[in-house]
């Protein structure tokens, strides 16, 4: 039986901040917009972003976009593209005001202007005094943004496919992307959505690691869909780890706890950060603390029966302080670690938090791939948000810059799509062979028989990634990891679904997610193995220095044959002088 088909001017996969902001630009201009989301839009992972969004509004302390740009370039360890960064920092200001108009209830100063918080990595005057650049809607910034954008989209008549799962992109022989194959989770029925443009806005992939801070939905689906049609992933080796996740569970114990006087100890009760960062100690940057924890564990000073975590001590602050200033931490420690931090230390381990890499795009959200003398766009394909890499975070992202990224580039992608649809007003013919290629993963999981289960293979994959492509990366450790991934590829091929029912078969969705996790995990591990330097979040004890001569370039990983390619960092901003590389010290 032929598959059902629907046609829209434009398809957006993902209803987080990036997808919804793009959709709004398009629906407002009268285009037929479909938004597909595997969960109800306001349950997208953007909801977890409580901290806020950066923009140099200068409402609390002096500030301007150029200082914001400097901080972002430096934070990126000089791997971010300076044109894209300039653009994002300039656009931040109108973007925040646009959100305010869309109804986001930002916290305010007594005079009515938007209040701004101080975050790490923010400076005045190119590395001077602390700046205050983060705008927040109390501790609900992400939700407030999603809620406002969702309401505006309903008003603008965006067509939502809630609880539909995108499986694969449709790309024809000429390389044009024509939409996607999706499946309704409730009925298990597939559908072809034909569209003149498709935007991937599927968010991050933190679930590739065993210990991570991400919601279960963050399985890198859009990244994997791009890989499968031959698009490379860029800078995947750069993954931000937060040093203090609850061991074995992953949720964050925020820096605030150490800010209040909490500190880390090893199994001998030693404050080991004194050895690694004598000045900043427990408040050293995230990558430094994460690495120190891993070194302690590797050298046999880990806590617990398996010696595989460190302890975060706060009980010395007294019950009253813990109850008053750290209520959330107390509750989650009790529930997820089984300890009351007012009396006992919290077991912690570095937790995978944010993917700097992703689908390579230009600053208009157009997906770009290398061609002989440079690069070219993939006609009809766009990407924005955490799944994309417009290269504004480089090797390391600053807090509050991710919400900014998704909103700015979501919005700009929307604008560019409008132009594209104007110039390409007709749907192209969709060949059967294209559909057949797209549906393969769905059919593969219909196979009967015995084999390893999905949960089992996923756990092995997550463990392998944590042990071999996590915080601690040497040539030997990573090679072993890629060997294990080879073996896991066979296990994955042999894996079988036990339940083939159609309606709300969440096991099938998890199987499809596992395919995606594998492809993205492999991209990350192989990219990491190749980069022989330490930069930002990518740290190698065997190559401890940043090597600007050989490695100031972006990596591109292709699924076919695990091939790697590289492209230069764009060091020339749009209007200002280049910030030349300097050591990244704080």
């Amino acid at each position: 039986m032929p598959l059902a088909r629907r046609r829209f001017d434009t398809l957006i996969i993902g209803a987080g901040g990036a997808g919804l902001n793009a959709a709004l630009q398009l629906a407002d201009s009268g285009l037929g917009v479909a938004v597909v989301s595997k969960v109800f839009p306001t349950r997208s992972h953007t909801v977890a972003a409580q901290g806020g969004v950066n923009a140099a509004l200068a409402n609390v302390l002096p500030d301007n976009w150029h200082w914001h740009m400097f901080d972002t370039v430096k934070g990126s360890d000089y791997l971010g593209d300076q044109d894209a960064i300039e653009f994002m920092c300039r656009e931040a200001i109108p973007t925040v005001y646009e959100l305010e108009h869309a109804g986001v209830p930002f916290s305010r100063l007594p005079d009515g202007r938007i209040y701004q918080r101080k975050f790490g990595g923010q400076s005045q005057n190119f590395g001077g005094e602390q700046a205050a650049r983060t705008c927040a809607a109390a501790d609900r910034t992400g939700h407030a943004i999603l809620h406002a954008l969702y309401q505006q989209n309903l008003r603008a008549k965006t067509h939502f496919f809630d609880e539909w799962f995108a499986i694969n992109l449709l790309r024809d022989a000429e390389g044009v992307v024509l939409g996607a194959l999706v499946i309704e989770i409730a009925s298990g029925e597939p559908l072809i959505i034909e569209a003149k443009t498709t935007l991937l806005a599927t968010g991050g992939c933190g679930q590739v690691f065993r210990t991570n801070s991400n919601a279960h939905i963050n399985t890198g689906d859009g990244m994997a869909m791009a890989l499968r049609i031959g698009v490379p992933l860029m800078d995947m080796e750069f993954f931000q780890f937060h040093p203090t996740g609850i061991a074995g569970k992953g949720m964050l114990i925020s820096e605030g706890v150490r800010g209040e006087g909490g500190y880390l100890i090893n199994k001998d009760g030693e404050r080991f950060m004194d050895r690694y960062a004598p000045h900043a100690r427990d408040l050293a940057s995230r990558d430094v603390v994460s690495r120190s924890i891993m070194t302690e564990i590797k050298e046999g000073r880990g806590c617990g029966p398996r010696g595989d975590y460190m302890l975060l001590k706060v009980d010395h602050l007294g019950e009253e302080v813990v109850a008053k200033r750290l209520p959330g931490i107390r509750e989650s420690s009790k529930i997820f670690a089984g300890v009351d931090p007012a009396h006992e230390p919290i077991p912690v381990f570095p937790t995978a938090h944010y993917s700097m890499g992703g689908i390579p795009t230009d600053r208009f959200g157009r997906v770009v791939v290398p061609e002989r003398h440079g690069e070219e766009t993939v006609p009809g394909l766009y990407a924005a948000g955490e799944c994309a890499c417009a290269s504004v975070h480089g090797a390391n992202r600053l807090g509050g810059n991710s919400l900014l990224d998704i909103l700015v580039f979501g919005r700009l992608a929307g604008k560019d799509i409008r132009e594209y649809v104007r110039e390409n007003p007709y749907h192209r013919d969709l060949d059967d062979a294209v559909v057949q290629a797209a549906i393969a993963p769905l059919e593969r999981w219909e196979q009967g028989g015995d084999g390893p289960g999905v949960a089992e293979v996923r756990a092995e994959l997550q463990r392998t990634m944590e042990d071999h492509a996590g915080v601690f990366r040497t040539d030997e450790i990573m090679r072993e990891g890629v060997d294990k991934l080879d073996a896991l590829r066979d296990r994955l091929a042999a894996a079988r679904l036990r339940d083939h029912s159609k309606a709300f078969n969440t096991a099938r969705i998890q199987a499809l997610e596992l395919d995606n996790l594998y492809d993205v995990g492999r991209a990350l591990a192989v990219s990491a193995l190749h980069r022989q330097e330490s930069r930002g979040a990518h740290s190698r004890p065997d190559y401890p220095e940043r090597d600007d001569k050989q490695w100031m370039k972006h990596s591109l990983y292709f699924k076919a044959g695990d091939a790697m390619d590289y492209k230069p960092v764009r060091t020339k901003p749009l209007t200002v002088e280049t910030f030349p590389p300097k050591p990244r010290v704080y």
Binding site: R43, G142, H143, S213, A215, K249, P327, I335, F504
Partner: protein
């Protein structure tokens, strides 16, 4: 069985949230205790799932609690199931 209640398969997907903490506590409850509840109890859990993520987060891990006493009880039950897990 009450026809008006969503199937367990549907609820399993409703437990997929935007925050890891909620993913864990809600799905643990669904798998461990939900089937032992009477219809009224099941309905309360279904109602809980319709609450937005930041509010659930504040009720479970923050310093806030719902006005409705029944909701307070469901949350306590959900959290105690999570501790057992």
């Amino acid at each position: 069985m009450n026809e008006a209640l969503p199937t367990r398969e549907r609820l399993r997907w409703q437990c997929r949230r935007g925050m890891l903490e909620l993913d864990l506590v809600l799905s643990a409850y669904l798998e461990s205790r939900y089937s032992n509840l009477d219809d009224a109890g099941k309905q309360r859990f279904v109602d809980l799932l319709s609450v937005d993520d930041p509010t659930l987060n504040a009720w479970m891990f923050g310093n806030q609690s719902p006005v409705d006493a029944e909701m307070v009880a469901v949350i306590a039950d959900v959290l105690s199931a999570a501790v057992e897990n």
